[in-house]
């Protein structure tokens, strides 16, 4: 019944204009309570719109296999060839696929139990994808559509982050978020906004008069009519948070297998028995799918592809640290419309380091790992600068793109597979996935333990240490403590990155952490050298030397982000001696 309605709707949407009715050949069928779209459409936008349309018919999921002319289907592949097979023949209770914030939060939550667990990440480090390419905002939970899993996980996650950040020894703060009223009509909508915040269970909201707004956010652009304030909105450094979760999990016994891509899941009698990777095949009693933008592909490996992902790009600009003093709160675009869109409309966020993030954009575009930015995207972001009188485009020091992994239902999937009893999905974790990660991890671990109960009795890990042993950050210590540390280890006194004030000792710590860095980008994520104004212009050779020394490799083998990304490609004619004279 609903299938025929869906078919009719799709026919209308694919041929309705200019008399070429029916020109497009789209097949619709039902498979295991999901709806599958097949055929060919001329452009990407139409593919996504049909997917959204199909999501409105009450199926479990939409599998959108429409081909788009000129766009090739992307295939999952290892990021670089592996030279060894250390996982071959081994056996684990739980295998987590994906080392983003979701996978790493799951790994740490799992470490509270006596299980053997391995996390597979295809890149040379965790947090290499979406988890380091976002706003770092721990959303209040107001923006998510009421009744969605996103809304519930967000509010729970928001409450969990503060104590978690304390255990992980990472920065967390709650500047709160302002939705500015740009017109009296917007101001009149306050009761609707308050009702929505209440429905979502958000921890507090306030009406701010124009006077209050000006007092609290003096540089806000003139002509505002007040604001809707959400005090629970917080911020973290997303890559630091992800790395810290991973380090804590590793220190508590979870094994991390980096540069390892899950390529297949072998089943027997409906259950996954073996995980096939480029670094060896191994047995796993339970598999967790936390593969971000590839989570539909991983579901497919187990024959459980009941949903598919579309990619929503987001571009952000970063302003110089000097810009941070002009901004006190997170500020969202002053438009009521944004509340109903598929993502919040972007705005301004002051990072924990004091820079200002401007963004993100939201655009449907193919490319699961396409982080190329364009000039047009940056221009689009300049509108956010108009929220604050003191900010200007000349403050931009860098910019980047991220890709949200979205289902057509536009909601998270956190569940035990209906078809494969020892598979748990944490898939389609789009925004606010960072904010939600700790709550998602709690549920995933509960589901994984339930699945594991079939084969094993699991007890709590009494040896779990919640507090992460964080390496010192010298620039933040009082001088006396700093001096004492340098006296013990003089490498803390040699500043290598002068923009961010990072010492040799801190870089060595990053290279020896429980989840050791092995590339320049991985060092950057842990200790920040090269993240300042000069972007590594001065410190790169010095950081390379330290990396080479710690890893015991020649200088020209140091990489930016793992094999295939060397900084240099061999020696000059004279070699180092000639250069040094």
């Amino acid at each position: 019944m609903s299938l025929s309605k869906l078919r009719a709707g799709i026919a209308k949407r694919t041929g309705g204009d200019a008399g070429n009715f029916g020109a497009l050949d789209v097949e619709v069928r039902e498979e295991f309570s999901s709806v599958v779209l097949e055929g060919r459409v001329p452009d990407w936008r139409l593919k996504v719109e049909l997917g959204w349309f199909a999501a409105g018919f009450g199926y479990k999921g939409v599998v959108n296999d429409l081909e788009v002319e000129g766009i090739e289907e992307e295939r999952l592949a290892p990021s670089f060839p592996a030279g060894d097979r250390p996982l071959e023949g081994r056996s684990f209770d739980v295998a987590i696929i994906g080392g983003g914030v979701v996978g790493c939060a799951i790994a740490r939550e799992l470490a509270k139990w006596k299980v053997s667990a391995v996390l597979l990440e295809k890149e040379e480090d965790v947090a290499a994808h979406t988890s380091s390419r976002n706003d770092g905002m721990i959303h209040d939970g107001f923006a998510a559509r009421p009744g969605t899993r996103k809304a519930a996980y967000n509010v729970r996650g928001n409450r969990l982050w503060e104590p978690l950040a304390g255990e992980l020894r990472i920065d967390f703060s709650r500047p709160g978020s302002l939705v500015v009223f740009g017109s009296s009509a917007a101001k009149a909508a306050y009761p609707i906004m308050a009702a929505r915040a209440k429905e979502n269970g958000v921890d507090g909201w306030e009406f701010w008069s124009r006077k209050r707004l000006l007092a609290e956010e003096p540089n806000v652009t003139d002509g505002q009519h007040g604001a809707f304030f959400l005090p629970s909105a917080g911020i973290v450094s997303p890559y630091r948070a992800t790395v810290a979760l991973a380090e804590s999990a590793a220190a508590n016994g979870v094994e991390f297998s980096l540069g390892t891509c899950a390529l297949g899941l072998e089943k027997e009698g409906g259950r996954i028995t073996r995980v096939l990777t480029n670094r060896g095949d191994f047995r796993a009693a339970v598999v967790v799918n936390a593969a971000g933008n590839w989570s539909d592909a991983v579901a497919g490996m187990a024959g459980d592809r009941f949903f598919s992902l579309h990619q929503r790009r987001g571009v952000e600009m970063i302003l110089d640290a000097n810009a941070g003093r002009h901004l006190n709160h997170i500020m969202a675009m002053p438009s009521l419309l944004t509340v109903n869109r598929k993502t919040k409309g972007g705005g301004l966020v002051k990072t924990v380091e004091g820079n200002v993030l401007v963004g993100p954009t939201a655009a449907e575009a193919p490319g699961r790992e396409n982080y190329a930015t364009t000039a047009a995207e940056l221009r689009e972001l300049e509108k956010h600068l108009r929220l604050n009188k003191k900010l200007s485009p000349s403050m931009v020091i860098t910019y980047f793109a991220g890709v949200r992994a979205c289902t057509y239902e536009e909601d998270f999937i956190v569940e035990r597979s209906e078809r494969v009893p020892n598979l748990v999905h944490a898939a389609g974790i789009q925004s606010p996935g960072l904010a939600s990660a700790p709550a998602v991890a709690e549920d995933v671990v509960r589901l994984a333990l339930e699945a594991l109960a079939a084969t094993k009795r699991v007890s709590r890990n009494a040896a779990f240490v919640a507090a992460r042993r964080a390496a010192p950050e010298l620039r933040r210590l009082p001088f006396a403590e700093r001096a004492a540390l340098i006296a013990k280890n003089p490498a803390y006194g040699r500043i290598v990155c002068r923009c961010e004030e990072v010492s040799e000792g801190e870089i060595r710590d990053a290279l020896r952490s429980p989840l050791p860095a092995a590339s320049l980008d991985a060092v950057k994520r842990r200790a920040r050298p090269g993240m300042g104004r000069c972007h590594g212009g001065f410190c790169t050779p010095r950081v390379m030397e330290i990396v080479a020394d710690e890893l015991g490799i020649p200088l020209d083998e140091v990489t930016k982000k793992g094999p295939g990304s060397r900084i240099a490609c061999g020696q000059t004619k004279a070699g180092a001696e000639g250069g040094r004279q």
């Binding site: 982080y371 190329a372 000039a375 006396a480 500043i495 050779p541 900084i567 000639g578 004279q581």
Partner: protein
């Protein structure tokens, strides 16, 4: 308690500017300390192994490290104290301590206290009467010129490429595209070619090259490396390592002309897109920067608007020749020593007469002439356009009524180009005591005929 060391003058930066300043201050009788954050003295010259230094100073062609060596030897010969691999965390001004205040003269500006970090001493403080900022400059990055596309390895600034090749003995890649025709980019085009890399071409956004003529000749023409003017790199391609870049022609405003995009295969993109004076410390001391030079505003001795803070070399403005850098360092060092020697006694500083560079100048340094400093004042300037037909330069003192009061200097140039810095001297005694300004004028040759 943080241990503290006292000096008359502290020089920040051990490049040619800082070395010359330290030497001059020491020769003037000051107790000087040079703070350098790197492991060796010499500044950027350590990696400039090419010839082309010292023609003005020493009348001979030296390589960068040789030029630096001469100053290092002189500084070491005078046993000037040097603190290497030392990071300056912050600088503040401190009023004279209570005990000393009794003895201190009225208006004593006090001391500078630098909180420093290094391996051997941990955290320590330096106290000085006068401060010389000789911190050089840094390079603009790919993000500052808004290059888009992927983020692979293989995108680096020319200075970093130079460091890798000349200091570490590493080749950055096999086939390079160079963006920007600044001198470092040109020099690296030659250097990389000599090392066996292929340099596909140098691309410049502007319609004229921004490097010195001699470098265009010796580094590109002699090696058959093409220079593409009014062309820029718009996109980088490659997931892990650069695989290609897209280049495109631009109009006069620098906007890309659609349809001119072209893909160029390469594994390395070298950026030579400008230098910016390093002035975080100057800014932390409240000094405002001249938007044209990106350095603090100073008088002819390099003294900034903050008493006792002197600035020289590339921290002041980006110089084309190290010889001029040394010259500005000497002036600053001498003046800093004199300032320290007064030991807080009321300022001998005279009236600061603003130097106003008229249309036709990119900038002029210094921004003030101190009437109280007798003798010659050296002015450096750049024109903002290429004047092939030649030009006439004039410096005039403007009286309080706004009318020209005295002509300080007139000079003809056969040609002027923005990349080439010009140096002139004026006699400060010719500037009337009540002058409102020193006005600089530049007239094109055509104008002269008319």
């Amino acid at each position: 308690m943080i241990p503290r060391e006292r000096r008359d003058v502290v020089v920040l930066g051990g490049g040619p500017a800082g070395l010359a300043a330290a030497l001059a201050a020491s020769e003037s009788g000051s107790d000087v300390l040079v703070v350098e954050r790197e492991e060796r003295l010499g500044g950027i010259l350590k990696q400039c192994v090419h010839d082309g230094f010292g023609l003005v100073r020493f009348g001979e062609q030296l390589a960068g490290p040789e030029y630096a060596r001469r100053y290092i030897d002189l500084v070491e010969g005078r046993r000037v104290a040097v603190s290497l691999e030392t990071f300056v965390h912050s600088v503040r001004r401190e009023a004279p301590a209570a005990a000393r205040r009794a003895a201190a003269a009225d208006g004593d500006p006090g001391f500078f206290v630098l909180t420093c970090v290094n391996r051997d001493r941990g955290v320590f403080e330096l106290e000085a009467r006068a401060l010389v900022l000789a911190t050089g400059c840094r390079e603009r990055t790919d993000r500052q010129v808004f290059i888009h596309g992927d983020r692979p390895a293989g995108v680096l600034t020319a200075g970093l490429a130079q460091h890798l090749v000349n200091i570490e003995g590493l080749l950055p890649g096999r086939r390079a595209v160079i963006l920007g025709s600044g001198d470092i980019g040109l020099i690296m085009a030659r250097r990389l070619t000599l090392e066996g890399m292929e340099v596909e071409g140098v691309y410049e956004l502007k319609s004229e090259p921004s490097g010195l003529s001699r470098n265009l000749r010796q580094c590109l023409e002699d090696f058959g490396i093409p220079l593409h003017l009014s062309t820029t790199v718009v996109e980088v391609h490659g997931k892990r390592r650069v695989e290609a870049v897209t280049v495109a022609a631009v109009d006069q405003r620098g906007q890309v002309l659609p349809g001119t995009e072209r893909r160029v295969a390469c594994d390395t993109l070298v950026l030579s897109v400008g230098l910016i004076p390093e002035n975080e410390i100057a800014e932390s001391l409240g000094l405002s920067l001249d938007p044209a030079t990106k350095g603090p505003r100073v008088d002819q001795a390099g003294e900034s608007q903050a008493e006792g803070v002197f600035v020289c070399g590339n921290a002041l403005h980006v110089n084309d020749l190290a010889d001029y850098v040394s010259e500005s360092g000497e002036a600053a060092g001498r003046a800093a020593a004199a300032f320290a020697a007064r030991n807080g006694a009321p300022a001998a500083r005279g009236r600061l007469v603003p130097v106003k560079a008229g249309p036709g100048f990119l900038y002029a340094v210094p921004q003030f002439v101190d009437r109280g400093r007798p003798g010659k004042a050296v002015l450096y300037f750049r024109s903002n356009a290429t004047l092939r037909e030649g030009a006439r330069f004039a410096a005039r003192a403007i009286g309080p009524d706004g009318a020209p009061a005295a002509t300080l200097l007139e000079k003809r140039y056969a040609a002027l180009r923005p990349p080439e810095m010009e140096r002139v001297e004026i006699d400060v005694a010719l500037v009337p005591v009540d002058a409102a300004a020193v006005s600089l004028e530049l007239e094109r040759k055509e104008g002269l005929r008319g």
